[in-house]
Symmetry: C2
Subunit: 444 residues, 2 copies
């Protein structure tokens, strides 16, 4: 039996990142990635295949990133933990010293009548499938997107760029409600409506109707929407079958259970990315935050720990993400007010708005708003939102470092920041700092 030092199952963002880090950190070890697909996609780029990027090929993760890591296209059918080996579809059995599970997730298909009709799509990370979706959109006059989370909103924005009439159906009070607080949700909904997207919140899909092909979507309250294409964007389910069959522990949020070092219930097997259980930075409890940047981070932790246990520790997922809907970018880090209240935090918030260049007469300057959320008892920052131009994405990363560093409002108010007329707000009104000052006053 051939034996490999590190075998990684799955070759999307997490698997590739783990392979790169394993090779960098342990150059003498042989690393192999086995994945089902010849090519995998940059996951966050998928909505942009529809309009901005032109084609799915433009969104492929370059295999060149793998360097000397061997890539095998095959499917692993079972893991034999005692023998420390895996078996593939072809019947090959290969040993491993360390195994990394990066098997990802698949879209949730809701139990709605008609979900199996032609032209009803989920967001599979598969080139051919997405190309088929794109072709269907090109033929369609109307698309209904079920689920107004950030993937749904991004798809809506891209579809309307293709000239299709877009309707979003969201079950909750607002789109993006799991990621942002109400103000920001409404701002993004307004942006979508401005460009002609029909946004229907607090609306439940009852059935998808059509004769072979979808024709319309029936909702509660007697609402009915024409649909040449339906996109179901209501979340993902971790792929844990291999792990489950091998007797690995599965977590409360249905991911493969891991400890702080990304090690599963078997000390020789790691799990990372969408297939792995996530734990909240703030509470230590299981959470469902699945993002590509979380996956690659876990890959970096697992990759470094492979042969040197406990080198990098996962203190839990903060949850940092950005998006851009029409001309408005946002970046979010940590808990929303709503989530924090639900978790029992006593909150203090601070808000600030300022132009993102300075003085405001600088060409291209636009307003950027920041809200910061602090835990009253510890004084520490636990969440933040930025909304405005494209720097909101990196501002989320500034906020994330403040959260990770356990900074208090007073510390953030006196944070060391750099400013420049063409690049940032004025040092007099830098948004994160000013929002912290507002919180400081409320905290007294």
């Amino acid at each position: 039996m051939r034996k490999i030092d590190v075998r990684i199952i799955g070759g999307s963002a997490a698997g590739i990142e783990a392979a790169i880090i394993a090779q960098q950190q342990y150059p003498s070890k042989k690393v192999i990635v086995v994945r089902r697909e010849e090519k995998t996609l940059v996951p966050c780029g998928i909505p942009y295949i529809m309009g901005t990027l032109g084609s799915a090929e433009e969104d492929v993760i370059p295999t060149a990133l793998l360097g000397d890591v061997e890539l095998i296209v095959d499917e692993v059918t079972s893991i034999n933990r005692e023998a420390k080996s895996i078996t593939t579809t072809g019947g090959k059995t290969i040993g491993y010293d360390r195994l990394v599970l990066a098997t990802g997730s698949r879209p949730t298909v809701p139990p709605i009548p008609g979900a199996d009709l032609e032209n009803v799509f989920t967001i599979r990370k598969e080139i051919d499938y997405l190309q088929k979706l794109k072709e269907a959109l090109k033929q369609a006059k109307d698309v209904v997107i079920v689920g107004g989370g950030f993937i749904g909103a991004e798809f809506a924005d891209e579809c309307r760029k293709m000239g299709v009439n877009v309707t979003i159906i969201e079950l909750l009070d607002h789109c993006l409600m799991l990621n942002c607080d109400e103000d920001l949700c409404i701002r993004i909904e307004d942006k979508m409506r401005e460009v002609g997207v029909q946004v229907n919140t607090m609306c439940r899909v009852k059935s998808i109707v059509g004769d072979k092909k979808v024709e319309h979507v029936e909702c509660d309250k007697g609402l009915r929407f024409k649909a040449g294409v339906v996109i179901l964007a209501i979340g993902v389910v971790p792929n844990t079958e291999l792990a489950h069959d091998a007797g690995l522990k599965i977590g409360e949020q249905r991911g493969i259970w891991v400890d702080q070092y990304m090690i599963t219930s078997d000390p020789n097997i790691f799990a990372i990315g969408d297939c792995a259980e996530k734990f909240c930075f703030f509470t230590g409890k299981p959470t469902a935050t699945r993002l590509a940047s979380v996956a690659t981070r876990e890959a970096r932790i697992a990759g470094a720990n492979l042969f040197q246990t406990r080198r990098r520790r996962n203190r839990g997922t903060i949850g940092v993400f950005g998006t851009m809907i029409t001309d408005t970018a946002m970046g979010v880090a940590g808990l929303t007010e709503r989530a924090a209240k639900n978790l029992g935090f006593d909150l203090v918030t601070g808000e600030a708005a300022a132009m993102d260049k300075h003085p405001g007469a600088m060409p291209g300057a636009r307003e950027l708003r920041v809200k910061l959320i602090f835990d009253r008892s510890s004084g520490k920052m636990i969440g933040g939102e930025a909304c405005g131009g494209i720097t909101a994405g990196e501002i989320a990363n500034v906020m994330a470092q403040a959260i990770a560093g356990g900074m208090t409002a007073d510390e953030i108010a006196a944070a060391q920041i750099g400013t420049h007329p063409a690049l940032t707000a004025s040092p007099l009104v830098y948004q994160i700092v000013n929002a912290a000052e507002e919180a400081v006053v409320k905290l007294r």
Copy 2:
């Protein structure tokens, strides 16, 4: 004698910020700002008055920021520490409970023959003076800028936008050499040359020559440059006369000495901004880093400490700044390699480049490079540079928080970051994280 709770002398960025914070933090206290100028300028916006902004009026700090704080336009001539009072030009004597010195700095005028000729300018923060400089530039065919620091480089870029032939004369090996390492200096010099700026480094000005008005600049090595206007941009001197005359301690770097709470040698007097001594975050030693964002930060520290000593502590200046020359933005935080070596650090660096959107086919994507510098003995990050598009400015702020938080290369490699196709690099290759990974390998 009228007595005021908080009197702030100086009303540019530092003075205004201190007044705002004092008022926010201590709303029952009466705060007054006294400054010489009716209007003050956003200091970092000054170069952009020449081209981008159109006029100096566009660069005025809005007095509205002061809210209820009283603004008096007058000049303070002396401080009587025993009586806790100040006297103004008009002969008025007014008491204070706390005094904040924010008297700023003035341009260094080098002892060069001809520096007093007509059309030889420094960068004074005065509207009328800068408007005069702008008029002179409009008439001129050739401008010589003495000093290629970031102010000199920004002026060069703005002057060439006005259609003037621009020559920079820099004494050191490279422009921007006090703020960036050689690679980045050369990159910016190349950018300037591409748009027609003549860059002369390792060049010393011997004299400025002309009959009343400047005509040319004589340098060593027999070089001679035509000049209708000369701009001297070789640094600043803190305004410490008032403090000195009042017997306050002056520091090694010629600023008013302050402790970690921004308190001078008199417990009732604070000093902030360009007039105050700065201490290095890494060594605790006096440093000459004078930036608007450093000034406003000191103002926030002093403002909070006014009546509640030691609430905010200044752990020393990291030095974070950004600039944009032609189409290239950069952001820098902490020490350069050169500075760190001079201070005796044993260094390890890591570098990474990636597109600033992802995949690279996203419209407007461009390469952004990051270099991080670590201290081998502590493993902590002590410096970083980013260069590329406009997000480099906020990326410097991400780096600054990593430095302030004492993060090691391993910690940064597993940092929590958020990414999005339209806003940042891919999570697989996020530059700060990848640069840290390179350093991790070297640190082993």
